[in-house]
Structure formats: C-alpha cells, structure tokens
C-alpha cells in the first residue's frame, strides 16, 4: 500500500512555490506505517495537498498514484471506495452535518464501513471529553468540540492513510495531545500511515519523515 506523489504541483501555483518546497514537484512515496509531518506556512498549499490526496480536487499537474492506480483515472465510484476503505481525513474546516447531533455525525461515517462497533463512539467521545455532547446538534458545539467530533469520525473506518489538515487548530495543548494519542493508537491498530500537515512542528507527533511544503 503506497501513496506516490509524482511531480505534483497545483496549477494555480507559479514557479516561485516549487523552489524550496520539499513536496511540490518532487517524487515522493509514502508507505503504510510511516508518520509523515508536513510543515507548511499559511498559503503554501497545505489544504490543497490534502484535498488532492483525498481526491476532492484535481487542479494539479503531475500525478498521485495509490497502489499503482492513478487518481486521475478514478471514477466517482472508485473515489467512494477509496474514501470508504483506504483513506480517511480530518478536515481543517471539520465539515460536519450541522443539523445532526454529534452521535449521528459519527455514526453516518461508521455505518459506511464499520471498523469499530457502535459502542466505540461513546468510548472515544468520553476519552476526548465530549461524551456529554453526543446528543447535541453539531452546529451548537464549539469549534474545539466540532474538531474532536471530526477526529473521532475519521477513526471509525478502516484506512491505510490518515490525512490530517491542521486538526488541532481549535484545541488547547492538552486536548490536542489527547487526540493525537488516540489517533496514533488507531493508526497502529491498522498499521496505517499518518500524513499530518500543520503550520509548525508539534512535539507530540512522533514523525518518521519531515517535509517543508
């Protein structure tokens, strides 16, 4: 299970960006079990990279290859399977269903391809300190709470790669560490890789490779 980036560059980036970047216009291969840290200042294309890897957008030159299949050739159905079984993501902007409660938001993901039994939702929510929020509509939860919902949601499915796009932007140090710990355990359980993009280095993420975007 490998995720390959071949000369990847967003089409809306000019040449200045590729100089000095350790990711854009490079050939990179990420394998299962690796912890990849991508440090990226604002506007360097961090979210673009995550969206490209997740198959949400394709305004890039170069290729992204998963298991020797080019994402460019994926159909809508292929992407559904890719996101359901192989790659999970925590978005910077959370992307929850505002009118559904916390439990429903997580269950919608879990039922698609359950890696954990339904009881695990409550267990994880309690571990991240949102156990009492399960019945609340997600739109009335704070950003910090929503971020934790998004993290738990990402951990409900099987995956080979877990993509994290500034997952702790609304969390304090303690909550972030707590969530990171949970994600590391879950990744280990699946022998999965984590690709973690953030503004700066974070000490409690034991990365095996480091890139500057």
């Amino acid at each position: 299970m490998q995720l390959q980036l071949q000369q990847l560059l967003p089409v809306y980036f000019d040449d200045n960006y590729r100089n000095g970047s350790e990711v854009w216009r490079k050939d990179l291969t990420f394998s299962k079990g690796e912890y990849v840290k991508i440090v990226a200042p604002s506007g360097s294309g961090k979210s673009s990279l995550m969206h490209f890897l997740y198959g949400l957008r394709n305004e890039y030159s170069g290729n992204i290859v998963y298991n020797s299949a080019n994402l460019r050739n994926y159909t809508a159905e292929d992407f559904a399977g890719y996101r359901k079984d192989h790659v999970s993501i925590v978005f910077q902007d959370m992307r929850l269903f505002p009118e559904q409660n916390v439990f429903e938001n997580i269950e919608l993901k879990r039922q698609l391809n359950p890696f954990h039994p339904v009881e695990k939702i409550k267990e994880m929510a309690e571990r991240l300190g949102i156990g009492n929020k399960l019945a609340s509509k997600s739109r009335i939860c704070s950003y910090g709470e929503q971020q934790r919902v998004a993290i738990i949601r990402a951990l409900m499915q099987p995956f080979d790669f877990l993509l994290l796009d500034e997952p702790f932007s609304h969390l304090d140090e303690k909550n972030s560490q707590n969530a990171m710990q949970l994600m590391l355990e879950e990744a280990k359980l699946r022998n999965a890789a984590i690709i973690f993009a953030d503004l700066e280095r974070i000490d409690y993420f034991p990365y095996t490779r480091l890139f500057h975007l």
Binding site: A76, A80, R95, F97
Partner: protein, 398 residues
C-alpha cells in the same frame, strides 16, 4: 454489511415544499386516472359496437354512390365511378372487394306477355356474381341465347304487390313470380330492337336492383348502346366491418354516399372513440406534466440538500447507492398513486357495467388486461424517470 439509508433520510430537506410535492402526486393521480379510464372506455366501445356478431359470410355488402350536389348535377363523369375510382377503393385495407353495378345504356322495355297485361320501361344492371347473395346455377347467358335469367330485388316484388291491386294486376307470391315469363325488349339506335324471354331465377334481399348476367349486359351495352366504358353510378363493396371508423372516414373524405342505417353504429363508435382518444391524450399530457412537476420538486429537494449530499459523497458514500436509495424513497408513493387511480378506474368500470349497461354480457365488470398493463407501465415509467433524474443530479455534485 448493508449500509442503512435511515439516518440519511433526515438529511434530505423536503420540509417546506410539501405542497408542490402533493400537487405533483395529485396531478399524477388525475392523469393516470384519465388515461386508464379512457383506455377502458375505448375497449368497452370496441366490445359493445365492435360488430363481433357473426354475419352469414363474415362480410358486409353495402352499396355506395357519389353524392350528387348542385355543382355536380348534370356532369356524369363527376357522378359516376370510373375505373380509377374503383381501383382506389379496391386497394383500401378495410375493403375486401368492390364491384360496379353496371346499368343499361339503352332503352329497355319489359312486358309480361299475355298472362299479366303489364308493360313498363325499366332498367337492368349487372354485378359480379360473388356480390349477389343468391346465385342459382342457371344464372348464365351465352351469346345467341334468347332467354335471360334475372335476379330480382325482393323489395321490388314487395312494391309491385303494393300497387298491383290498384291497377287490377294480380299479386304474386315469390314462387309464382319465378314462374312468370317476361319479355325484355332492348332498343338500339336506328330502330334496332331485339326481344328476349326472361324469368326471375332468384330473389335478392341484398341487391336493390334487377340483375342480369354480366356478359349479357356487356354485350347488350355494346350492341344497343355503343359503349364498353365501365362507368357505374353504384358500387357494391365487400367489407369485414361496415362500422369500421377507418372505412367510414374514407367514405366521408371521398364524399361517397352510403346507406346510413348500415353504418350507424360505426358513426357512433367513430365519435365516441374520437372523444376517448382525445381524453386519453389529455390524460397522457397530464401524466407528463405531473412527472415534470415532480422532477422540478426533485431538483429543488436536491438543490436544498446539496451540502449534505456533497458531504455524504465526500465521506465515501457511493453516488450510485445514494441515487438508488434517494429515488427508492418515492417508489411507495408512486405505486400508491397508480394503484389508487386503478381502483377508481375499476369502480368506474363496475358502475358503468352495472348501472349504465345493466350487466350486458359483452362487457366485463373487471378491467381489461391492457389497462393493468398500462398501469404497470406508468409505474415503471415514473420510477425510471425519477431514478435517472436523481442520478443525473447527484453525479453533478460529485
């Protein structure tokens, strides 16, 4: 592991446009009802007026003539059938044969000899034997033969018997009439004349005329009248069903005159079928309009739930699975709407059969299978259009 659609249902926002959804359901129901009722009534008319009753030989024979109007009066070529007319009529699919009634083109006088002191100018006509209902074996003539067999209209005999007493003539039974020998004198130009003996060999209920063998009249027309042109004022037509609307509209279009009594059912049927075809087409239009309204409703629903649906697709829900399940939501409603219309149609048919037609055996209180087939087809049609619509809209969100 089957993914449940239940938690997703609440993500489809259907709340505020309930009225447009109900309008489209009601519209669909009314359209389907109209369509099914029209089909059933169309079939009822076929069964009631379809001429299913067995005629003797399975054919109707009727005579037609051109309508003589003030404009065509005196113009023989416009009032007579020429060979092209006959050819055109014979090639129509609903006409199995046509034969002209050829009349004499010379003066003919008939007298009854000494037995009945009766003499009159009259006419003779000839017709293909296959169009005459009663053709005895001796209805033949050879050149040189001075005896002419005659097929006589039974109506004419009746008319004779009506006026005979007033003129001091004996009334004749059918049997006696065929024993009377009459003398037929043909007058040609320049004082040429020839007298033949004749007798009635058969009476015909079908043909209102005095029929002689065809070869005799052709020969006589040539000899006394100097013409071999086939121009007939009347045509006999052999048709499977004189009430066939196509046949009637052909006659109307050509401005041919026909015995109205023989085709009266056909005319009623023509009008009724026209009405119900119109209603059926209207029903179909309503169905199409309702489906269009429903597709607008679907578009609106999907547009309103766009964010939610996009997020589901983003989470890894298959667009194919989603389209199937979103459109599945409407299956029960569609089936219910069509079944309700079907039930209404059935009760209409029962009431029509029982109260209006007094349980006539030609009809059935149950719906015709084609109505059920149409109902099934409509369910299928709405489901397919619905599914395709949802699928198209959802794939746009991917």
């Amino acid at each position: 592991m089957a993914v449940s659609f239940k938690p997703i249902r609440s993500l489809l926002q259907t709340g505020t446009n309930t009225s447009s959804r109900w309008f489209s359901y009601i519209g669909l129901g009314i359209g389907v009802l109209l369509l099914l009722c029209s089909i059933q009534m169309f079939i009822n008319i076929q069964q009631l007026l379809g001429g299913e009753d067995q005629r003797k030989e399975g054919y109707d024979f009727i005579s037609i003539s051109k309508t003589i109007t003030n404009e065509t009066m005196g113009q023989l070529e416009k009032n007579l059938f020429n060979e092209n007319d006959i050819k055109d009529i014979s090639t129509q699919p609903f006409i199995q044969g046509a034969s002209p009634l050829v009349a004499n083109r010379f003066r003919v006088q008939l007298s009854a000899g000494d037995i009945i002191p009766f003499s009159t100018d009259m006419f003779l006509e000839s017709l293909d034997n296959s169009f005459i209902d009663t053709v005895p074996p001796n209805f033949t003539w050879k050149e040189g033969q001075d005896y002419i067999p005659i097929v006589f209209s039974s109506d004419f005999l009746e008319i004779y018997n009506v006026f005979a007493p007033g003129y001091g003539l004996p009334q004749l039974s059918e049997a006696t009439a065929s024993q009377v020998v009459v003398y037929i004198t043909c007058f040609g130009e320049n004082g040429v004349k020839q007298t033949f003996r004749g007798s009635i060999v058969a009476l015909s209920d079908r043909v209102n005329s005095i029929i002689v063998p065809k070869n005799f009249l052709d020969w006589a027309n040539n000899k006394f009248g100097n013409t071999t042109n086939v121009r007939a004022s009347r045509l006999y037509i052999k048709t499977k069903d004189a009430n066939n609307p196509d046949f009637l509209s052909y006659l109307q279009q050509k401005n041919y005159k026909v015995n109205k009594d023989k085709t009266k059912f056909g005319r009623v049927k023509q009008v009724l079928q026209g009405i119900f075809s119109g209603l059926g087409i209207f029903g179909l239009l309503v169905v199409i309009l309702a489906l269009m309204l429903f597709s607008f409703y679907l578009q609106l629903m999907i547009a309103r739930s766009k964010d939610n649906l996009q997020l589901l697709l983003l989470m890894g829900y298959s667009p194919n699975w989603l389209s199937k399940n979103v459109s599945k939501q409407f299956i029960p409603v569609y089936i219910l709407v069509v079944l309700a219309a079907l039930a209404f149609t059935e009760s209409m048919q029962w009431a029509f059969h029982h109260f209006a037609m007094f349980d006539r055996p030609e009809l059935s209180s149950l719906l015709h299978w084609s109505v059920l087939a149409t109902a099934l087809f409509l369910i299928g049609l709405s489901l397919i259009t619905n599914y395709r619509m949802v699928r198209k809209l959802l794939y746009k969100l991917v």
